[in-house]
């Protein structure tokens, strides 16, 4: 991120996955920066999956929703599956009520569930890769 001051977003690597957490409401420029940074990291880290955690957001506007969808599509072209996690109940209902098109965006309840979804979606084609260290019950 080019922005100075406290970090607004963190992108962490976890095995073959990236975990991106949005810490606070982002304006449109910051959202676009986030998109570029994330797509850049996917290639650099050879990631197979991305979890975007939006639990800190109490609103997701149409631009935000569209950016998330764009990220998911671009990531797919770069070979990674994207799961958005942590959409809060009121945010979810507002998004639907406002008719925001989430398209084929994958969602899960929280980070744990998101990683689980990635395991299910990515693992079948990951036969030779190192296994990610996870609690036994969750390995795919």
């Amino acid at each position: 991120m080019t922005t100075t001051g406290p970090r607004l977003v963190s992108i962490l690597r976890q095995g073959p996955y990236l975990i991106a957490s949005i810490h606070t409401a982002l304006d449109d420029t910051q959202m676009t920066d986030f998109q570029h940074d994330l797509v850049e990291r996917i290639g650099r880290d050879r990631s197979r999956g991305v979890v975007i955690d939006v639990a800190a957001l109490d609103v997701l506007d149409s631009f935000g929703t569209r950016t998330l969808r764009t990220i998911a599509e671009v990531a797919r072209l770069r070979g990674a599956v994207t799961v958005v996690v942590g959409i809060r109940p009121d945010v979810a209902f507002a998004m639907v009520a406002l008719g925001m098109d989430t398209g084929p965006l994958r969602t899960a309840l929280d980070l744990e569930e998101g990683l689980d979804v990635l395991d299910r979606l990515v693992a079948p084609g990951r036969s030779t890769s190192r296994s990610r260290s996870t609690p036994g019950s969750r390995t795919a």
């Binding site: 109940p89 979810a92 209902f93 309840l109 998101g114």
Partner: protein, 302 residues
């Protein structure tokens, strides 16, 4: 004017020490008359009630007690012109008799009967002096109508209060979010879905998904007799919102009527997962969650 009445008027003027108009004197006069013949008139009224077949939900003793109270309250309102005490009594009475199935028309009916019984007795008393009779009835009728109105309104208000209370408790009871297995919630909906309930349902479902970390939700609407367009729309939105939170929703128990309504009003249900009955819904939910059901005797699961 008879000798006797003239005397009463004169007495009152002396007592009050001021000139009261004749109209002001009429109500106290007829109140005195109604008090004097209280027992006879009350019996007559009770007979009329029986004759009209009203209040048969009450025992004769209760009837006697209530008619006495109503009669006394009635006369008191005529005397004081204040309906507050009557309002209180009517509400209290309604509270007692509504659960026994006494209907609005019965309550209004008995008050109107009393009004007629008393009017007839006044007519008999004053019929020799036509001008006076007219003035008596002019004084009596508005007061009597006001009483009938007060009682009817109090009764209806009390009834509405009871209905509201019942609606609230139905609302509270009727949308339980039940965890059946890890990650699986059932939401059986019973009764008519209005927009208020639909909103509450959404709230409970979405928060339930978060609390129970549900991955699959089965909404069973077998017990819903009908839905309108806005509620159907709301349901679709709730399903979409649940998906955004990472849970799949399966709707079961769509009645033929509701299914046809939904298709007719053109709600987009293509994204909605529906399965005939709750049993099928649960089986599908367990499949989605990776459970396999098998019988112990080896005959195999469903």
């Amino acid at each position: 004017m008879t000798q006797d009445q003239g005397a009463i008027v004169a007495d009152r003027i002396d007592e009050a020490g001021l000139m009261a108009t004749a109209e002001d004197q009429l109500l106290p006069q007829l109140v005195a008359h109604l008090r004097e013949h209280r027992t006879r008139l009350r019996h007559e009224w009770a007979e009329r009630i029986q004759g009209a077949g009203l209040l048969h939900a009450m025992t004769p003793q209760e009837m006697a007690a209530e008619t006495t109270s109503v009669y006394d309250n009635y006369v008191e309102v005529l005397e004081t012109g204040s309906v507050q005490a009557l309002q209180r009594y009517a509400r209290d009475l309604s509270e007692r008799i509504i659960p026994r199935g006494v209907e609005t028309h019965e309550v209004v009916g008995i008050v109107l009967l009393l009004r007629d019984v008393l009017a007839r007795s006044l007519f008999e008393k004053y019929q020799r002096d036509f001008a006076l009779l007219n003035r008596v009835l002019d004084a009596y009728e508005p007061a009597a109508n006001r009483i009938a109105n007060t009682v009817a309104v109090s009764f209806v208000e009390e009834r509405e209060r009871v209905i509201r209370q019942q609606q609230d408790s139905i609302r509270e009871l009727s949308t339980p979010v039940l965890p059946v297995r890890e990650r699986l919630l059932i939401l059986p909906i019973i009764g008519v879905l209005d927009s208020e309930r639909a909103r509450q349902l959404t709230d409970q479902l979405l928060n339930g998904i978060r609390t129970h970390r549900a991955r699959v939700v089965v909404i069973d609407i077998t017990g819903v007799p009908e839905v309108d367009e806005s509620v159907a729309d709301h349901l679709v939105r709730t399903v979409d919102a649940s998906r955004l939170m990472g849970a799949s929703v399966i709707i079961t128990g769509l009645s033929p009527l509701i299914a046809q309504t939904l298709v007719t009003i053109g709600v987009d249900l293509s994204k909605m997962d529906t399965i005939g009955d709750l049993q099928g819904g649960l089986e599908e939910a367990e499949r989605l969650l990776g459970y396999t059901a098998a019988r112990e005797d080896g005959t195999g699961g469903p």
